[in-house]
């Protein structure tokens, strides 16, 4: 081995290229990745799912599986070319010189071996320890990761430990043989925030004490900045930016990095949480655009230089490396296309639509009993503020949307469009202006489009019906619309049935836009689409609403998606309004137990359809705060703040106090 010098870093990756074999083709996933890591230094790799982070780590370990292959470049560990090592030599490196902390510790521990056995075998294999020495060493390391009751843990099986304890065990295991490099793959994913913070602090101290170098991987830029000295941001298999951790947070250069930072929830407490990372999708491997890979999602994209050819890394203004010629330029414009900025303040946004105690009853099949699909629903849609109506299947979201659009009439309550009640007017009985003002896009494009007509014919028809008879203008506006929804004109000559799902939904949106609506109601606009086109359609809707001063009302069962883009939320449960109000308020301080459960679970809480009470609060069977009065009387609706209403018997202070203690989880089995 060559002696280590300053010029000879511990780990050096030189223009590494990796490809996976898929259906006989080699799909490249890493492109010319060059990184180096000095002794005792910590480097964090950040990137979204699929950007090639884990591939990089596994390539360093030369453990890519049968499908993966290094197609170019070299990796030196401690001056030795990893490619030159035999399997036996690699084994002497693994665990001894390079320790690994795996993602999801619970799965990385063998379920049928005790913790003690899994720790001592490392010392026995690499240090030649006797049984007793190995056991002592294991105990010492378990103590060093602050695990209590080491004797019990040595004899325990993984399933007997908590997630945080398992993660600590995995760290201890990586440290047993005192490696000089620690590889960490998402070291805190799956841990709650408090535990994760503790683990990060622990790893930092341990690494500092031992002068150990670290290569850490995560999708969380803030986490990596806390853990590491330097951070490299990866996008679609390339390093797009590399810099000191503090510099990258303070002066991000690449538009993608800036997008990541803008999107990340502020570290301090509540507020508008944006979970959708950067809008759009990374190109799938092997399907990269010419020029900058980030181009299709970049707000600063221009054909030259971005689309012209491969973009190389260069020195950035803040002293790092960045792969964008425009980095460090105008930092003011939002660098990420389509990211929805918050709508106007409530006070500044006039009311467009007011729903007042709206109700809808259907006669059931026999015609004798009535089914209540909506009851007593009130909320406000303000111009420019995107409203999301959320609720589980069967909560009456679509019924509500159909009433708003005039496909059904309400059986009680009022629906005020700019002050005029249209609750019992079907679309054909509304005025032309009223009809045009509210348009709808359905989950199922079959409902929006006539499959036997060409797209062009349907859009032209709506254009004419919207009341502008001059044909020339219509032709021109048709072309504009197709362009707005990014459909080629050629697609307009086809029938709806001949388009892909994503194209059909775009055509449906274009048809709705043809009426120049003030309000666009979209019922689950993306749930029938492939994930890869979902983000693109969401983005399209949001940018259209901005460009055309069109207010979006989106119906969805997907709160995690909605919480990142909506300004106002309306939560329904079994046809009743549960809570409505500004998204920030509902997400940071939900009042109703159902909203709290929704927010805490970031998914819908378990409310199996078992018994629906025939009176009182319909949520009572699942409610952790249920009181006697709840099953006797329907909860009254109260107004808590501007546009904030809730239907629950709980006094306000109780609900607010309860939140934050994890009480919202009690409703789950």
């Amino acid at each position: 081995m060559t002696p280590r010098t300053a010029a000879n870093p511990l780990l050096r990756i030189e223009s590494l290229n990796v490809a996976y074999r898929r259906d006989g083709d080699a799909v490249p996933v890493l492109f010319d990745v060059s990184l180096s890591l000095r002794q005792g230094e910590a480097l964090g790799i950040v990137g979204e799912s699929g950007s090639g982070k884990s591939t990089l780590a596994m390539a360093v370990m030369r453990h890519l599986g049968r499908a993966g292959r290094i197609t170019g470049g070299r990796i030196f560990f401690d001056g030795v070319d990893m490619a030159s090592l035999s399997a036996r030599e690699l084994r002497r490196l693994y665990g001894a010189r390079i320790g690994m902390v795996h993602q999801d510790a619970g799965l990385a521990l063998n379920p049928s071996m005790t913790i003690g056995a899994q720790l001592t075998e490392v010392a026995r294999a690499h240090l030649g320890s006797t049984r007793a020495e190995a056991s002592d060493l294991a105990r010492t390391h378990l103590r060093s990761v602050h695990l209590p009751d080491v004797d019990r843990i040595m004899g325990a099986y993984p399933f007997q430990l908590s997630g945080g304890q398992q993660q600590r065990v995995v760290i201890a295991m990586a440290l047993v043989a005192d490696p000089s490099l620690l590889l960490l793959d998402e070291p805190t994913s799956g841990l709650d925030a408090t535990t994760a913070t503790g683990i990060v602090a622990l790893i930092r101290t341990l690494a500092a004490e031992r002068g150990m170098a670290m290569l850490a991987i995560s999708h969380d830029l803030h986490l990596m900045a806390r853990l590491c000295d330097r951070v490299a941001v990866m996008y679609a298999g390339q390093v797009v930016e590399e810099n000191r951790a503090d510099a990258i947070l303070a002066r991000p250069g690449h538009p993608y990095t800036r997008g990541l930072l803008e999107c990340l929830p502020p570290t301090s407490g509540a507020g508008r949480q944006i979970l959708l990372p950067v809008p759009g999708q990374a190109p799938s491997p092997g399907d990269r655009p010419a020029g900058c890979a980030f181009g299709p999602r970049c707000g600063l994209f221009t054909p030259d230089p971005c689309g012209a050819g491969a973009i190389s890394l260069h020195l950035s203004a803040s002293g790092g490396l960045v792969r964008c010629p425009k980095a460090g330029g105008t930092a003011d414009a939002s660098p990420v296309r389509g990211l929805r900025p918050p709508g106007p303040e409530i006070g500044a946004a006039p009311v467009l639509l007011r729903v007042e105690a709206l109700g809808k009853q259907y006669a059931d099949r026999t015609g004798r009993r009535m089914v209540t699909a909506n009851e007593g629903i009130s909320f406000t849609v303000r111009r420019g503020r995107m409203t999301a109506i959320v609720g589980e299947s069967g909560s009456g979201k679509s019924t509500l949307a159909r009433i708003v659009c005039g496909l059904e009439t309400a059986t009680e309550g009022r629906l005020l469009l700019e002050g005029v009640d249209i609750a019992d007017l079907l679309a054909e009985r509304r005025t032309v202006a009223q009809r045009a003002a509210v348009q709808m896009v359905f989950q199922n494009t079959e409902m929006s489009l006539n499959p036997a007509w060409t797209i062009r014919r349907q859009i032209m028809r709506t254009l004419r019906a919207a009341g502008r008879p001059d044909d020339m203008g219509a032709e021109h506006r048709y072309a504009q619309l197709m362009d707005a929804v990014r459909l080629p004109l050629e697609a307009g000559e086809r029938r709806a049935g001949e388009l892909s799902g994503g194209q059909r939904q775009r055509a449906a949106i274009a048809r709705a836009l043809a009426a120049s609506p003030r309000i666009l109601v979209a019922d689950e606009p993306v749930s029938a689409l492939d994930v890869s086109v979902q983000a693109a359609v969401v983005e399209l809707l949001m940018s259209l609403s901005r460009e055309r001063d069109m207010t979006l009302v989106v119906i969805s069962h997907d709160l995690p998606l909605m919480r990142s883009i909506a300004d106002d939320l309306v939560v329904l449960y079994r046809g009743r309004l549960v809570e409505a109000g500004p998204a920030g308020t509902l997400l940071s301080a939900p009042v109703h137990p159902y909203t709290r459960a929704l927010v805490a679970a970031a998914d819908r809480p378990a409310t199996s359809a078992q018994t629906v009470p025939d009176k009182g609060c319909l949520f009572a069977p699942h409610c952790p705060d249920r009181m006697e009065v709840c099953s006797l009387r329907a909860p009254p609706e109260r107004v808590l703040g501007q546009d904030h209403r809730v239907a629950c018997h709980l006094p306000d202070n109780h609900a607010l106090g309860a939140f934050g203690e994890g009480r919202a989880c009690h409703g789950h089995p």
Partner: protein
Amino acid sequence: MKRIAATLLTAVAASILLFLLFELSPRSVAIATLGPFATPEQQTLWLQAHGYMQPPQVRYCRWLGHFLIGDFGQSRAFAAPVSSVLWPRLGHSLILVACFFAITLPVALPLGIAAGLREGSAVDRIVSAIAVATSALPPFASAVLLSALLVTRLHLVPGTSIMTEGWDWRQVVLPVLVLVLSDVGYLARITRTSMAEIMATPYIRAAILKGMSPARILFRHALRNAMITPFTIIMLQVNWAIGGVVVVEAFYSFHGIGTLLLQAALRKDLPLLEAATFVLVMIAGITQMLADIGYAFLNPRIRLS
């Protein structure tokens, strides 16, 4: 302890069921024993002589007592004590099963493990091909084929396993081979799938990246977890092989417990039927108990909760 109790409980339940099924109505027992032409007086006399006039619970206890000391009564079909017929037959079946497993396990398990270790390799493809070919062949077909080859053409072994002149090892070969052939591929495939699944788990990757040797990864990390599924299957097959392979026994006139049960049922030989069923139920109970104990060994989560 709990498992032993459970097994005993199964045995008691099985015995009660048997009793209710066959012995509850004394008259039918008498008819079955004395034949359809006995007069009612004869039947009554017989019933009195054999204590059938007492209340059922008393009769059950006595019946069970006899069973427990191995006194199963007199077989009508064989005109001999049931035990003198039953035990040798069971012995034959047990030897058959023992030979079957003694060949199947050492072949199927290592093959499956080797195939699962390197999914997609040559070994894997060969094992899969053999598995598909052999399990597609039903036992009677392989019985015909094997007889044609080994008996008719090569004259290696006798074509029947009737063993009129006492136990003859050469006569066991064919039935065992048929059983092995019908099962070895299946078991190898189960083992392969299980092994491949385990080798793809994050904890095996973790063990590799801890620098453990291939042998240690196989024997210490993978094998125990990978054996859970094959073990379940093997335990189920013990019962299948002991009692269920009437086809093979019948084809070779092998005197095992499967054909015995069949004969007893056809000839309405109640004591024999009861005894054979009871013994088979007991064997099933014992394998279940062994399976549970084996599970607990393989899976600490079961052992500790």
